[in-house]
């Protein structure tokens, strides 16, 4: 393909990707086209072409920034919030207050903090769920990064007498513990900080804080990787230096394999961390054994099921 045709192809692809909403891919194609144009010394309209591409790139960048700046959990309309409560609350009780509490917790999971606080506040008058509702109000303020509002709310409860002394004590410790964990220099009014650790487990709420892994933006490799049944890893550093361990592959998508590490293998778990380069690996497939390298992509603790406590490690494989 001559260079002119290549440029045209890149420009066409860029437009098509943009039409598909694939903004980064479109940007890459424009950049490739611009690079090629710059490499041609005597090209008619060179500056005009580059200016046109620059304008397109500027527009694309604006769109990319808009998408990236979109809030993670924007507040949505009342109808949608009601639907979320209906579809995603799994209360296993007929108790209306417990169901309402569960529904408000569901809203917090979807980041609807303002409405959730409103619903939790309505539950403060119900003795059976009062403390849980209060704790969740605090959690909503923290999750919404409004610690000061949480402190003000706590002060209001101290003054109002709506919560018992015991409830206030538990709540104060719960709140201070979260603040301390976040490393913030904020003191919850009139609270005792003793026995925080003991209370911690009991006061832990059901809110899930999913970890978002950053998107991999590495250039893709087109190499074919065979089905891998197990891998051998030779460690070059750390406490396991010189050792070779063999692990069964639990899952494979393309060139990314997952292996499970038993919670007891602490050294091994400590030795495999995201970003680690594994320069000496053996891969065992049904039809061949081959050498290669890998990079640890992710390490995730298993929270439920029969392998609870164990770790799943993803390794991106490169054969050699």
């Amino acid at each position: 393909m001559d260079i002119g045709a290549k440029i045209k192809t890149f420009l066409k692809e860029a437009e098509l990707y943009r039409g598909q909403g694939l903004l980064n891919e479109s940007k890459e194609s424009y950049q490739k086209a611009a690079k090629l144009i710059k490499s041609i010394e005597k090209l008619k309209n060179k500056e005009k072409l580059l200016a046109g591409i620059a304008a397109k790139l500027k527009g694309l960048q604006g769109e990319i920034e808009k998408v990236e700046a979109a809030p993670d959990n924007p507040e949505i309309g009342a109808e949608s919030q009601a639907l979320i409560k209906k579809l995603f609350s799994y209360a296993k009780t007929d108790d209306a207050d417990a169901v309402a509490l569960e529904e408000a917790i569901t809203l917090t999971k979807f980041g609807q903090y303002a409405k959730a606080i409103e619903d939790f506040k309505a539950l403060l008058s119900k003795e059976s769920v009062r403390l849980a509702a209060a704790k969740n109000i605090i959690r909503c303020h923290i999750a919404g990064e409004k610690i000061e509002d949480g402190v003000a709310q706590f002060q209001e409860w101290l003054d109002s007498g709506i919560l018992s002394k015991d409830q206030l004590k538990k709540l104060g410790m719960f709140f201070q513990n979260i603040i301390d964990k976040k490393g913030l220099d904020v003191k919850v009014p009139k609270m005792a900080t003793a026995a925080v650790q003991e209370e911690e487990a009991e006061l832990e709420l059901e809110l899930e804080e999913a970890e978002v892994e950053p998107a991999e933006e590495e250039p893709q490799e087109e190499e074919e990787i065979l089905d891998i049944n197990s891998v051998g890893i030779s460690f070059e550093a750390g406490p396991m230096k010189g050792e070779v361990i063999e692990l069964d592959v639990s899952f494979q998508t393309g060139n990314v394999i997952s292996v499970l590490l038993n919670a007891r293998d602490k050294d091994l778990i400590d030795n495999l961390n995201p970003g680690d380069q594994l320069n000496d690996m053996q891969f065992y497939s049904p039809i061949a054994i081959f050498q290669g390298t890998g990079v640890v992509n992710a390490k995730t603790g298993i929270k439920v099921g029969p392998r609870k406590g164990d770790f799943s490690v993803d390794i991106k494989v490169s054969s050699s």
């Binding site: 098509l16 949608s80 393309g254």
Partner: protein
């Protein structure tokens, strides 16, 4: 998790369309909403989208009518595909009974497909589900883009990348044109209902209910082993009729 109401003889299950951002999950559901309008219990609901990017989920409830004597209802969901909405994606997946993995056929999205499938596997695992066991259908979407000159992956490569271990039923599709959408949905429903039938034995329960009604109406048809004594007694009275009914009964029910 599917809900089976034995009293009302209703079963409600949840099918989730999963896949990387911009792969066409919402377009699939939109297309289903249009093509199967009479089955849709309401219009598709899109909970907050930024432009045409799903931030929360899309939802389409459908009624499939009676299957083995039960009213079957299915809730179709899409998840937000973008990486940053991982927690919402996981929440939407909770209680799933069947999954359609929508893969983007464009070459530039190869890695994203793999990462999304891996994400699905991990999220299912976190809920105690196994990607190899849950009803799963693969859809290779946007096949029509080849005509527009966009480089797309051959099916063989997509099968190799995503489906060589899972060996899930797979379909080519162009969701925007509606091609392959119905096939994918039917396969997903079929796999999910078969799975639920095995897991919950709801067809068996229904057969038992029919069976119990029948024993109260002698001469309609007769039961087998579990009501054998009653059957034997009646056989003495009307042997020819009842034997014929028994054969029909054995041919059609699971008790």
């Amino acid at each position: 998790m599917a809900v089976f109401n034995a009293r009302k003889r209703e079963i409600e299950c949840k099918l989730v369309y999963y896949g990387p951002g911009r792969c066409g999950k919402t377009t699939n559901i939109e297309s289903i909403g249009k093509a199967y309008r009479k089955h849709a219990e309401s219009e598709m609901v899109s909970i907050n989208t930024e432009g045409d990017r799903t931030l929360f989920f899309d939802f389409l409830p459908m009624g499939l009518g009676k299957i083995k004597g039960c009213d079957v209802r299915v809730q179709l969901y899409t998840v937000p595909g973008q990486v940053k909405y991982a927690s919402t994606r996981k929440l939407v997946l909770k209680g799933v009974d069947g999954v359609v993995f929508v893969a983007d056929s464009m070459k530039v999205r190869r890695e994203k497909n793999m990462l999304s499938l891996k994400d699905l596997q991990q999220n299912l695992k976190d809920y105690g589900l196994n990607v190899f066991k849950i009803p799963l259908i693969m859809q290779y979407n946007k096949r029509d883009l080849e005509k527009e000159g966009i480089p797309i992956m051959p099916i063989k490569q997509m099968e190799h990348d995503l489906n060589r271990q899972l060996k899930a039923p797979s379909f080519e599709a162009s969701a925007l044109a509606g091609d392959g959408v119905g096939q994918t949905l039917k396969a997903a429903l079929s796999a999910t209902l078969k799975y639920l039938q095995r897991e919950m034995n709801w067809a068996g329960q229904e057969a038992y209910a029919e069976h119990s009604r029948a024993i109260r109406r002698p001469g309609v048809f007769e039961p087998c082993g579990c009501h054998a004594a009653a059957w034997r007694e009646r056989r003495q009275r009307r042997p020819a009729d009842l034997q014929s009914a028994y054969r029909r009964h054995r041919g059609g029910f699971l008790c």
